[in-house]
Every structure is written in C-alpha cells, then in structure tokens.
C-alpha cells in the first residue's frame, strides 16, 4: 500500500497520484494488480438538462392567446383602426426574445443578439406599416435599430475578460461612436446633409475620459496607483 511522500497519508492500492497534492506514486517494486476493482466507480452518471419545452409552450400559448383575443376584439372595438397589430407585433417580439433561447439551450449570445435586433426591427416595421410610414422606417428607424444592434454586438464581442479600465474605455468609445452615427442618420433623413453638432459634445466628453483611462491602463505605475487608491 503506497504512501504520499508529501502528505504522509496512506493511499489506495490503485492510486497513481496523491488525491491531495497530485504527487505521483512511484515505486519501482510495486506490482499493480490490474484485476482489483477501484475503490470508487469509474463510470460517471449523466445528469440530463431539464426540458424547457413546457415553459416554451406555456409562453407561446399565453402570447398567442393574447394576440388572438386582441385581434378578435379589434373586429368590434374601434374597428376602423387596426390597433391590435401593435399588440400582436409586441407579442411576436416577446416570443422571438424568449422562446428560441428556451428551445435551443446552446444558442450563442451573438445569435441571440441578432435575433433580438431582428425582432425589434420587425416590430417597428409593423408599426410603420400600420401608419403608412415605410419612408421613415427605411430612412431612419431601420438604420437606428441595426446600428444599435451592431453596437451591442460589438460590445458583446470585445468586453468579456477585460479589465475595468478597458471596459470603461470601450463602453465610452462605443457610446461616442454611436452618438456620431445617430446624428448622421437623423441629419441625413431630415436634411440630407451632415452637420455634426450635439454628437460632437458627447464625443468630446467621452474622449476626455477615455484618454486618461488609456494612459492609466498603459503605464504600470499609474495602474498600480489607481488600483491602490480605488480598491474596494
């Protein structure tokens, strides 16, 4: 029966390493009896993931029944307007947000984010269709929704695993870029030109914060100082 040379504990006959410290059991004279059964079973038990089909079905039924009820009500109440489409669109958006992730547990964050953005775009499209507003949808709403989705996707890609300083800098940088883009889209839709105004203020403020952050992040002595002063 082997002993661990570091821990001084007796080990099982079939142990190849000490379970406590990982030191290999090395005894040139030791003859391993291959027939002996290990002390613990070697076969791991499977733990099946909980089925979320029921929850998905429940949500689907609730959303569908709300949509159907509103659609039916629309036939009698203020029938001159198709107000129920707002609600049906909202239900469709909620369905796209919550049900596909329940059905497919392995769905990545990026795919989910894309789907969520598409759901918002779809909902706004329904609103635009009801209001005969396809021009503002194409010119303004869709680009804003898509660029918001792109900004969120960018952050989801670059943020994980970075330091607080880098995260803050990236967030502020994205916010500044987003503000510029937003003003560009609005200006182009309204005046077909681009005269950056308020977004420059946002960019300037963001830049004023980002530059010191990057310097602190890059210079080790400053970083250490910041860590000391601001530790929680």
């Amino acid at each position: 029966m082997p002993y661990c040379v570091h821990c001084g504990v007796k080990l099982d006959d079939d142990a190849r390493r000490c379970p406590l410290c990982g030191t290999p059991v090395m005894d040139p004279n030791l003859v391993r009896e291959s027939a002996a059964e290990p002390v613990f079973p070697t076969q791991a038990g499977e733990v099946k993931p909980v089925s979320r089909g029921e929850a998905a079905l429940l949500i689907t039924v609730i959303l569908a029944s709300i949509s159907a009820a509103c659609g039916a009500l629309n036939l009698f109440l203020r029938a001159e307007q198709v107000w129920s489409l707002y609600i049906i669109g909202a239900m469709a958006m909620l369905w796209l947000w919550f049900v596909p992730p329940l059905m497919d547990r392995k769905m990545g964050r990026f795919l989910r984010l894309l789907l969520d953005t598409a759901a918002i775009a779809l909902y706004v499209l329904i609103i635009a269709l009801v209001n005969h507003g396809l021009s503002w949808y194409k010119g303004l709403a869709l680009p804003i929704v898509l660029s918001t989705g792109a900004a969120a996707l960018f952050l989801a890609l670059v943020l994980p695993g970075r330091s607080i300083l880098s995260k803050t800098a990236l967030l502020l940088g994205t916010a500044g870029g987003y503000a510029l883009l937003l003003e560009l889209l609005i200006d182009r839709f309204l005046t077909e030109g681009w005269e950056p105004g308020w977004s420059l203020v946002v960019v300037a403020i963001c830049a004023a914060i980002i530059v010191p952050l990057i310097i602190v992040r890059r210079v080790p002595s400053l970083r250490e100082e910041a860590r000391r002063r601001f530790h929680i």
Binding site: C7, L11, D12, L20, P41, V47
Partner: protein, 430 residues
C-alpha cells in the same frame, strides 16, 4: 387507498421548505450515506430489502408537489425507489418531476451500498434510522439472521407511527422567538468550478482510538477537535491568500435537536451553530482555536436558546405575509435569503452524525461507513464525518477543482500523529 380518494398529503417543515426552495436545475440539497459491507452487494436482494422497508417509512416514499403558495409532500405511488449501479459523481440533483418523483436513491458498487436523500425529507439522524433498517433487511435477505428491532432499528412488522412523521419544530416551538442579527460575511473559500456535473470527493479514514487519544490529550471531544482543525486550516489558508481584508472564518455545525427535545421524528430536526473566529484581530494558535471551539460548542448548546432560534423559523414559516406570496415568487426570495443568511456568513459546513450504532448481529457484516455532503451552492468543500467501530471516516466534497483545504486538513492530522488513509474519486488520482 380507496378508489377516488385523494392521497394523504402533508406540509413541509421549515427546513424542508428551505431545501425545496433552493432547488435549481443544477443544484439539489442531497447527502449520501454508504455502508461498505464485507461481501459484494447482491442488487436483487437489495431491491427486495428496499421494497420491504418502504411501507414502514412512508416519510421517505413521497414526492414534492407544487401548491399555489407552498410545496408539499404527497405519497409516491410510482414504482421504486431507484436501486442503481453506483456512479463516480455522487449526489446528483434530484428533480421533482423526474425518476417518478423519488427523492431517495440507492446505489450499489462492489461491497458498497449507498443511500442518497433529498434534504427536505429528512436530516442525517432520520436517514440513518432508515438506512440501518434497510441494511438489516438486506442482510436478512442474503441469508443472515437479523433482529427486527433494537439499537435504532424500526420494526418492519409494525405499522408506521404518526410520531415518525411529525414536524418536531412545530411541536416544540416556544412562546418567544429569538431574533439574532444577520451574521457578517465570512471567508468564502471558493475554488475554481469544475465542469457540470462533477463532485470531487476525498475521504480520509482514521483509527478512532488514536483520534480520541489525541483529542482527549487536549481535553476536548473528537467533534470539537476536528472542528478546530478545520477552522485553523481555513484561517491559515486565508492568510496564505493574502486578501486585502481578512474575513472571519465561520463554520456551520448542524446539531441534532433530538438530544434536547425528545422526538421520534424521521424528518428534519436540526439547527446549525456558527463558531466564528475573526483572524483580522490577530494571530490564533491552534490551542486558541481549540479553546474557543470547546467552549463555544458547549455554551451554545443551550436548550432554551435553541428553542428560541427554531421558534423564529417556525414563526417565519407561519407568517401571513410570507404565506400569501405565490410559490414561484417565494422561491427566489427564500433562495436569496439563504444566500445572505446561510451561505455568505459561512466558510464551510462540518457535520458529524457521530457513531453509527447497529445491533451486534449486524456488526460482522459491515466494514465501515461513509458519508458525503452533496454539492454546495458554491464551488467550495464541505466536510462530514461518521464513525463505525474503530474507523472514523471524514469526507470533503465539493465542485471545486482544488484540493487544498482537504490537503491541509489531513496533513494537520498526520502531523498530530494520527495515521490517515485517503481515497478519492478525483480523476487525476487514478
């Protein structure tokens, strides 16, 4: 049961409510007792023995049902409970709707019989009565002459008693509830989480006489000694990690209330004590820790005070305000309060159900006993111990990759002159 008659149901006690509320997809409060016999286990005989015992233990033959405001128990008519070949990753989650709703499981492997219990059903003391009776029935099935009663066995020829399923907390709840302030956050001792579902189990086997000799030499009991060793190991571990601020090291020590409040209940009837040392105050030598634990455990085992504490839990459970919250909202609230009051203020759990006593006819057939506290809500090890004959078995189990807590613990015992034998299900040891 008469045709068309609704099965008899009953409410949970406050410990049962808590453990059910904590249920998540990846977590159940489960613990395991194992008996390593002298002969290889016969699965068919084990199945027959379990089948024979279940009618006598209706409290274990239940399933959890969800009411509008509370979970409750209902008798389980599904075939079972499961008797399965053992797996390397014990104490897997028990879902309320899977496996026929069974909340106990039996496993067999070579000479080992194991019982896993969902904590809402019963505490260690109750489960051991059940396990002992199943073991005696099993030994009878394989042809040994076993008694039907005595030494903690329940007689299978008698009908179940009402007292065995009583809510002893409610029975002994006093007039005044004892309020205690929320304890401070303790050193968390978290490690790197392993892949789902892994439970790293490390068992140490010690000669009880030697352990007792060392403990007596220091003027303390075995439980006090082991508690102090664990606290000292955690204090030193935290210091090595050089935290910005040292947190107190606190243990959860469940005590069996049946010693003070006589009850034949097989359901939960425990309370946890919280020995706590704040190492930021200064150096604690092992003797200081031992001295503290020795006096603390004696001082806190105060009948009136303990009654006050569980009276508060019973009151909490009966409060109208809490009662009217639907169960799906209540569960997250209770899980959060458990995090704040049951996880954050503790560094580890150490439970010692004590010596496993059996009738002398059974003794030659049991080699030793083992206990495993199942997965914790966080990746950190929890300790449990049980003794049988001259073998004291101490288990550290957790979902963390590191083995440093158990390594330092067992090295401490070896340095104190107690020989330790280690077994583990860790893959790297094989």
């Amino acid at each position: 049961m008469a045709q068309g008659k609704k099965p008899e149901w009953y409410t949970m006690d406050n410990a049962g409510i808590l453990y059910s509320a904590l249920q998540r997809e990846e977590y159940s409060a489960v613990y395991r007792f194992s008996a390593v016999l002298t002969e290889t286990v016969d699965p068919e005989a084990l199945k027959r023995a379990v089948g024979e015992c279940m009618p006598r233990f209706p409290g274990f033959a239940v399933k959890v049902k969800k009411g509008a405001f509370w979970y409750y128990f209902e008798p389980n008519d599904a075939p079972g409970p499961p008797v399965l070949p053992d797996v390397s990753n014990p104490c897997q989650p028990m879902r309320f709707t899977e496996n026929g709703g069974w909340l106990i499981r039996f496993y067999y492997y070579e000479k080992r019989v194991s019982l896993e219990v969902f904590h809402s059903l019963s505490d260690g003391a109750g489960a051991l009565v059940f396990f002992r009776t199943v073991l005696s029935a099993y030994l009878r099935e394989v042809g040994h002459d076993m008694p039907y009663a005595g030494q903690g066995l329940l007689d299978l020829r008698e009908p179940p008693l009402k007292e065995e399923r009583e809510d002893a907390y409610a029975r002994y709840a006093g007039r005044r509830a004892l309020r205690s302030p929320m304890p401070a956050k303790a050193y968390q001792n978290r490690g790197t989480a392993e892949r789902f579902y892994t439970l790293n189990v490390t068992m140490g086997f010690l000669p009880l006489d030697k352990l007792r000799e060392v403990a007596r030499g220091l003027g303390v009991t075995v439980t006090e000694y082991l508690t102090a060793v664990l606290m000292k190991v955690l204090i030193d571990k935290q210091r090595r990690e050089k935290p910005v601020r040292e947190r107190p090291v606190a243990l959860a020590i469940p005590v069996n209330l049946r010693s003070w409040f006589p009850s034949g209940t097989l359901r939960n009837f425990i309370l946890t004590l919280r020995p706590c040392i704040d190492p930021s105050l200064g150096e604690y030598a092992f003797e200081d820790v031992l001295n503290y634990v020795h006096h603390y455990l004696r001082l806190e085992q105060d009948k009136a005070k303990m009654r006050g504490v569980f009276t508060r839990n019973v009151r909490f459970q009966r409060s109208r305000l809490l009662a009217v919250i639907p169960v799906f909202l209540k569960n997250p609230i209770m899980a959060l309060s458990y995090r704040l009051a049951g996880v954050r203020p503790y560094s580890a759990t150490y439970t010692n159900p004590g010596a496993f006593q059996v009738p002398h006819e059974m003794r030659p057939f049991i080699e030793h006993m083992e206990v495993i506290l199942g997965q914790a809500t966080d990746p950190r090890p929890h300790a449990a111990s049980i003794s049988y004959g001259n073998v004291m078995e101490i288990t550290f189990a957790g979902t963390q990759r590191e083995a440093d807590t158990e390594r330092e613990f067992f090295r401490f015992l070896v340095r104190s002159g107690i020989p330790v034998q280690i077994s583990s299900n860790r893959k790297e040891a094989r």
